[in-house]
Every structure is written in structure tokens, then in C-alpha cells.
């Protein structure tokens, strides 16, 4: 029966959103992980989403979502002058990750809402199928 695919679709959406939530958690946790070497410092990570389907003409009716990969934000880290910090380099600078906390909070809310959306889709699909099973009783 074709409607079982809804569980795959909504499930793929939930999995993708939880990867996004994971990267957000990782970024927020490391927002203050400073380092004395700009090459060693943590870089913000973001997932890249991609629809799983070829096109309209081939098998395009149902499209789940997959995480194509996770990329690191290439923006340079912020240099902070903290000569007292034991991690500081010879010039007295430490380097903070390029994590934008406000952006991450927004990402977190958006990911959580999208996750809830997929859960609702799955619940509704389940109820519809159970109702179909009870047909004629």
C-alpha cells in the first residue's frame, strides 16, 4: 500500500531535522571554545539538505529529505586581545569560533518546529490508516 511511504517521508524529515538540531547544539556548546591558533579553532557547522528524488517525470511523486553533508563555515574566527589567557599567542590574542549565537538560536527553533511538523504528519497518517483498517465495522 502506497501510504506506508508517508512514514518514510516524515521519518526522513525527522532524521534530517535532528541532525540540524545536533549541529546547532554542537555550535552553541563550542561558542566559547577559544584557541591560540586560528587554524585550530572550532568552526560553526551546518547541514546541507537535499530532496531524495530524481525529477517530476521519473519517480518524483514522493520525496524524502536527506542530509547531503555537513559543511564548516569558512568565515575567519574572531580575534580577541586577552594577554592574561594561558591560551593566548605571542601577541596576546585568542581566537573565538565564528559561531553566531543568535543565528544558532533561530536555527534551533526552526529545526524544532519542523521536527514537530513531521511528527504531526506521521501521527495524522497513522490515524488515517487505522481508520481505514476499521472500515466497514
Amino acid at each position: 500500500m502506497s501510504s506506508f511511504k508517508i512514514f518514510d517521508i516524515a521519518g526522513s524529515g525527522m532524521s534530517a531535522q535532528s541532525v540540524r538540531l545536533n549541529t546547532t547544539a554542537s555550535n552553541l556548546a563550542n561558542a566559547d571554545s577559544v584557541s591560540g591558533d586560528p587554524a585550530q579553532v572550532y568552526k560553526a557547522r551546518h547541514p546541507l539538505f537535499e530532496a531524495i528524488r530524481a525529477g517530476l517525470g521519473t519517480n518524483g511523486a514522493n520525496a524524502g529529505v536527506s542530509v547531503k553533508g555537513i559543511y564548516e563555515n569558512p568565515a575567519p574566527p574572531t580575534a580577541r586581545y586577552e594577554p592574561g589567557n594561558p591560551l593566548a599567542d605571542v601577541n596576546g590574542y585568542v581566537y573565538a569560533p565564528n559561531v553566531n549565537t543568535v543565528e544558532e538560536m533561530v536555527n534551533m527553533i526552526s529545526a524544532s518546529r519542523s521536527y514537530q511538523n513531521n511528527v504531526e504528519v506521521m501521527n495524522t497518517a497513522k490515524e488515517m490508516m487505522l481508520a481505514t483498517l476499521r472500515l466497514g465495522q
Partner: protein, 134 residues
């Protein structure tokens, strides 16, 4: 005289099928609400139902070369009835899913699915009454 069950159930059996396909398409839109370059789609329900019920159902153009565009059904949905949504405000990343609109369409579709189920259910109940005579 043998009774034709398909004719007795009328349009509802086909409607249930198209509704469940539409649920799938809208679920895919919602799952891809954050996917760059994803274009939201929907089924033209009226056309899909008419197509499924017409005597020409199952008649399709044949594709004899690689570049030909097929109009054969995609997972049971006639390809012509699966259409891209016209975006009200497309996002910069090329995504055209309007989550609120899709949620509303999903809710509407599931209510109508259940209405169709009710119709089918009462058809069956009527049949049972006729059989048992009670």
C-alpha cells in the same frame, strides 16, 4: 443478477486512493520545508479524479526516444495532475514550500479522507443491512 461492487461504491473508492496519494505529496512538501531548491507540488484533485474515473484511464503516450516526455503515471498519480505550486514568496535558496499553506492543505486533505471513509463505511453498512435483513 450479480451485483457490481465497484459500481455500488461509486466514486468514493477512487477518491480515497487519490486522497491518500495527495497526503503523500503534501507530506513530502512538509519534510522538505528547509531543503534548498525544492519546489512544492500538489495534485490537481479534480483532474486526477476525473482521469482515474474516465474510460481513457491507463491510456498513455508511448516514449520511443530518450528525450520524449512521458505522461505515464508517477506512483499511480497521472503525471499531468502532479503540479508545481505557484509560490507566493519564494525563499532566496530556491525553496517554494509555504509551511502554513501546506499544513492547511494537509489538514483539509485528511478531513476529506475521513469523510470519504465515512461514505464508504455507510455504503458497507447499507450492504450488510440488505444481506442480513435486520
Amino acid at each position: 443478477m450479480p451485483m457490481k461492487l465497484d459500481a455500488y461504491l461509486g466514486v468514493h473508492a477512487t477518491a480515497l486512493k487519490v486522497r491518500s496519494q495527495r497526503t503523500e505529496v503534501i507530506a513530502a512538501n512538509l519534510a522538505n520545508a528547509d531543503t534548498p531548491n525544492y519546489r512544492a507540488r500538489d495534485i490537481d484533485f479534480k483532474a486526477a479524479l476525473a482521469e482515474a474515473g474516465s474510460p481513457n484511464a491507463g491510456v498513455h503516450l508511448s516514449t520511443t526516444r530518450a528525450g520524449h516526455i512521458s505522461n505515464s503515471p508517477v506512483n499511480g498519480v497521472p503525471a499531468g495532475e502532479l503540479k508545481y505550486r505557484v509560490p507566493l514568496a519564494p525563499a532566496l535558496d530556491g525553496n517554494t514550500v509555504d509551511t502554513q499553506l501546506e499544513q492547511a492543505a494537509f489538514a483539509e486533505n485528511s478531513v476529506r479522507y475521513q469523510a470519504t471513509l465515512q461514505f464508504l463505511s455507510s455504503k458497507f453498512r447499507g450492504l450488510m443491512t440488505a444481506i442480513t435483513g435486520q
